[in-house]
């Protein structure tokens, strides 16, 4: 945690061609960072215009005693057995923060990832980090509706946006697949939008 905070986030004027990001996806038991838990974390680094598969990780979080995955298993396919084989949340968070050092967090619906990670860090380390994030939902909305008109939410789904660029269909609700899918979509969206600098694409 301290190491993470010690490394400055990239400057808002960083050219996208040089921008280091980490595409992240979390599988959780629900959508509420207060009451739901992180089940697994998938991430893959993006250096400028390239996704580095060598840095891809998928970390399954071990459940605390008495915690089950419950009905969410039907969505993400992580059963109690798989989750029991994972690592403690503290270790998972530490590994994720290490991968995020000096990088911008990249996610689809980034508020979920930043919310869950911040809350988990608060519990584990006693501090709530602020993440610089890029959200492919917001980039997608900019592409589909450059003004402020409404976009049907279905068209902003990860696979719906990916299909706009002919990107392949991946199995959904696997943390690493979704992180990779988000990373690829980011490459496509920023090129299609002609964005050149971090300040044009980031949210805080």
């Amino acid at each position: 945690m301290r190491d993470f905070l010690a490394v400055p986030a990239p400057s808002p004027r960083t050219p996208l061609g040089d921008l280091p990001l980490l595409a992240i996806d979390l599988e959780t038991t629900g959508l509420d960072a207060e009451s739901d838990r992180i089940l697994s974390i998938g991430f893959v680094p993006v250096d400028g215009r390239e996704i580095r598969l060598g840095g891809a990780r998928e970390i399954v979080v071990r459940a605390g005693s008495g915690e089950g995955v419950g009905d969410s298993a039907t969505v993400h396919g992580l059963t109690d057995d798989v989750v029991a084989a994972g690592v403690p949340l503290t270790d998972a968070l530490a590994a994720t923060l290490r991968a995020l050092e000096g990088r911008v967090l990249l996610a689809h619906h980034a508020a979920i990832e930043t919310g869950f990670l911040a809350r988990a860090c608060e519990r584990a380390f006693g501090a709530r980090p602020l993440f610089v994030a890029v959200d492919t939902v917001l980039l997608g909305r900019e592409l589909l509706a450059p003004g402020d008109e409404d976009v049907p939410p279905g068209r902003l789904r990860l696979d719906a946006l990916r299909s706009q660029f002919g990107l392949p269909r991946y199995r959904a609700h696997n943390a690493l697949s979704d992180a990779l899918a988000c990373g690829e979509l980011y490459l496509a969206l920023t090129q299609e939008l002609g964005a050149t600098r971090l300040q044009q694409v980031s949210v805080r």
Partner: protein
């Protein structure tokens, strides 16, 4: 350790589906996946510039990339699973090609040094990316024609080459012997009504008639073998041989419902392995009327399909079909000569087009002409011969040429031919040249070959330097580009009965035939066969070794696909055509066909430069 050794399943699974990575072990693929990065190229983006250095291998995950030589001429269109960049990595020199994303493209990128390492360490990767060498396509074609021990699959019905020769039991021994001599058979079937009741063989005539002193006026029923051993048409060929060996007999009637369909002899089985066509051709020479010839001729497509099935290549099968067509032609002419007496003056029957090139397929037209000595004044013999041969060929299954290139229209004296060729060559006009092309693929079949040789020598040397004429031929040779984009969405006939299919003859074979023809004529090569012409052009230094090998291989492979397609139609009793649907081809075949089309496109580009055909049209 806080994380598992993760594999990016989406990437590893994709690699597992595409050569050469599909040939790697699972561990090798997982290791490879970790070395990859992913890049995205918006449509229109140049991925590798022609003349610029390249340091990566690109594997297309989605989208499409056009590869153009020198940035202009489309060489290939790569689609998901294809890779590019290997040639500049291997030559360690700037890229000869420009690679442009023509759709939004996602690509896996492998660093050049890792690619070089794989080339050193992995056989499948090395085999796949080693620059095309002599015979690569023919090797692929051979792999596709997986040979099976076909003799084990042939059955008795397949072995019947002619209708049974039979006589009733009351026939005298003498009459029976006469029939056997006339029909050149070594066994006679004896039928009561339509039921087989006996068989009489050459050996019976020796041992039961001559040696026993039986008068030859006796009925055959007194000396024939009653209720002979018989087989069903479904019995396998190797079983027939076993029956013959165990019963010590040499002839087996093939019978269904008591009715003889034909006869299989030990000789038939012996000849099976090497010389089926020889049997058929010999049989054609024994027939005495066009109907009889046609009866034998009808076996030819089935025989050819069998040979193809047994692993013969397209060139062999086309040669067999051509040899049979030559035999039919020759025999029909002989019958005219027997009937009408020999021609009054020297003459020569000349076959044209695919038969001249030894490239007949299953459904070919007849194309031919006659060269007649200049001293001939009355042409009635030749005209009648032409009529009879055309009718006989048609009866034998060779359709009349829709363009009218037949001896009934084209029976000219040598000097008239010279004038005709001079007109085609010296005053070329594109429509006339289009129709005349077929006369530049000619081969003598019957008669006085020197008449033909004298004519063709002059024609070829005249054509060799007739640049305008060659220019017209060149323009025709390049007018149908092979559909390199065929594989992405498949470029197909977009209307009519063959919607969603591809014409492999017009778009593939003929592009090669016509390209090679113009190069051959320009080089003074007189042979008509495409493969022979390619070899002659190579020997004369007009084609380099690699180009010649690629082109020969492309021709063989496309011919093979066409023949196989037609054999399949025939097996379903459907009329032959040249339209291939994409789903008929395996992934490997589509890839191989694309190599072939690339070779075709390259020779067309050579011709385009040589004759500047774009200026002519």
């Amino acid at each position: 350790m806080v994380h598992m050794d993760v594999e990016v399943a989406e990437v590893v699974d994709f690699l597992a589906q595409h050569a050469p990575f599909s040939e790697l072990t699972g561990a090798e693929r997982r290791a490879l996946a970790k070395e990859l990065s992913i890049r995205y190229f918006r449509r229109g983006t140049v991925v590798i510039e022609s003349g610029a250095p390249n340091h990566s291998l690109y594997i297309i995950r989605s989208g499409a990339v056009d590869i153009a030589e020198g940035g202009q001429d489309l060489v290939d269109r790569d689609e998901p699973g294809d890779s590019f960049g290997s040639s500049s990595l291997l030559s360690r020199s700037p890229s000869r090609y420009r690679a442009t994303a023509v759709e939004d493209t996602l690509a896996y990128v492998l660093p050049g040094h890792r690619f070089q390492q794989l080339m050193r360490e992995s056989d499948p990767v090395r085999d796949f990316y080693t620059p095309r060498q002599r015979g690569r396509l023919s090797q692929l074609a051979r792999e596709l024609q997986k040979s099976d021990d076909s003799i084990l699959r042939l059955d008795a019905g397949d072995m019947i080459v002619r209708a049974p020769i039979a006589a009733p039991p009351s026939t005298s021994i003498r009459e029976a012997a006469e029939i056997m001599t006339r029909e050149r058979v070594s066994a006679l079937l004896i039928n009561e009504g339509d039921q087989l009741v006996g068989i009489l063989t050459d050996r019976d005539l020796r041992s039961r008639v001559v040696l026993q002193g039986v008068p030859n006026t006796e009925p055959v029923s007194s000396v024939m073998t009653r209720n002979p051993v018989r087989v069903s048409p479904e019995m396998k060929a190797f079983e027939l041989l076993m029956v013959m060996t165990s019963k010590k007999i040499h002839h087996l009637p093939v019978v269904r419902d008591g009715r003889a369909l034909g006869l299989v002899s030990a000789g038939d089985l012996m000849r099976l392995e090497s010389s089926n066509p020889v049997v058929l051709i010999g049989e054609i020479g024994r027939r005495n009327d066009p109907e009889g010839i046609a009866e034998v001729a009808r076996q030819a497509p089935r025989l050819a399909a069998q040979l193809l099935d047994q692993g013969a290549n397209a060139d062999d099968v086309s040669h067999v079909l051509t040899a049979i067509a030559d035999a039919i032609t020759g025999r029909l002419i002989q019958l005219v000569e027997i009937d009408r007496g020999p021609a009054p003056h020297p003459w020569c029957w000349v076959t044209l087009g695919s038969q001249a090139r030894h490239e007949l397929g299953f459904a070919s037209d007849q194309d031919h002409a006659m060269v007649i000595a200049d001293e001939a004044t009355d042409l009635s013999w030749y005209e009648e011969a032409a009529e009879r041969v055309v009718a006989g060929l048609e009866l034998a299954g060779l359709k009349r040429c829709p363009g009218g290139a037949m001896a009934t229209n084209w029976h000219l004296r040598s000097r008239e031919w010279r004038r005709q060729f001079a007109q085609w060559v010296n005053e070329p006009e594109s429509k006339a040249v289009l129709h005349a092309q077929i006369f530049f693929d000619a081969r003598p079949v019957h008669g006085d070959f020197t008449l033909f040789d004298e004519l063709v020598g002059g024609v070829v040397s005249g054509a060799q330097h007739a640049q305008r004429f060659l220019g017209h031929l060149a323009a025709m040779a390049v007018r149908r580009e092979p559909p390199l984009t065929f594989f992405r969405g498949f470029v197909l006939e977009n209307s009519g009965a063959h919607k969603d299919q591809f014409d492999i003859k017009a778009g593939g074979l003929h592009a090669i035939i016509e390209s090679v023809r113009v190069l051959a004529l320009a080089a003074g090569v007189t042979e008509p066969a495409t493969l022979t012409r390619i070899e002659a052009l190579r020997a004369a230094g007009r084609l380099n070794d690699d180009t010649a090998a690629e082109l020969s291989d492309a021709f063989e492979f496309i011919s093979f696909l066409r023949l196989r397609h037609q054999a399949e139609l025939m097996a379903r009793n459907e009329p032959a055509n040249n339209f291939i649907a994409p789903d008929q081809l395996s992934t490997a075949e589509r890839r191989h066909l694309r190599y072939a089309f690339t070779a075709v496109r390259q020779i067309q580009q050579t011709i385009q430069y040589q004759w500047q055909t774009h200026l002519m049209n």
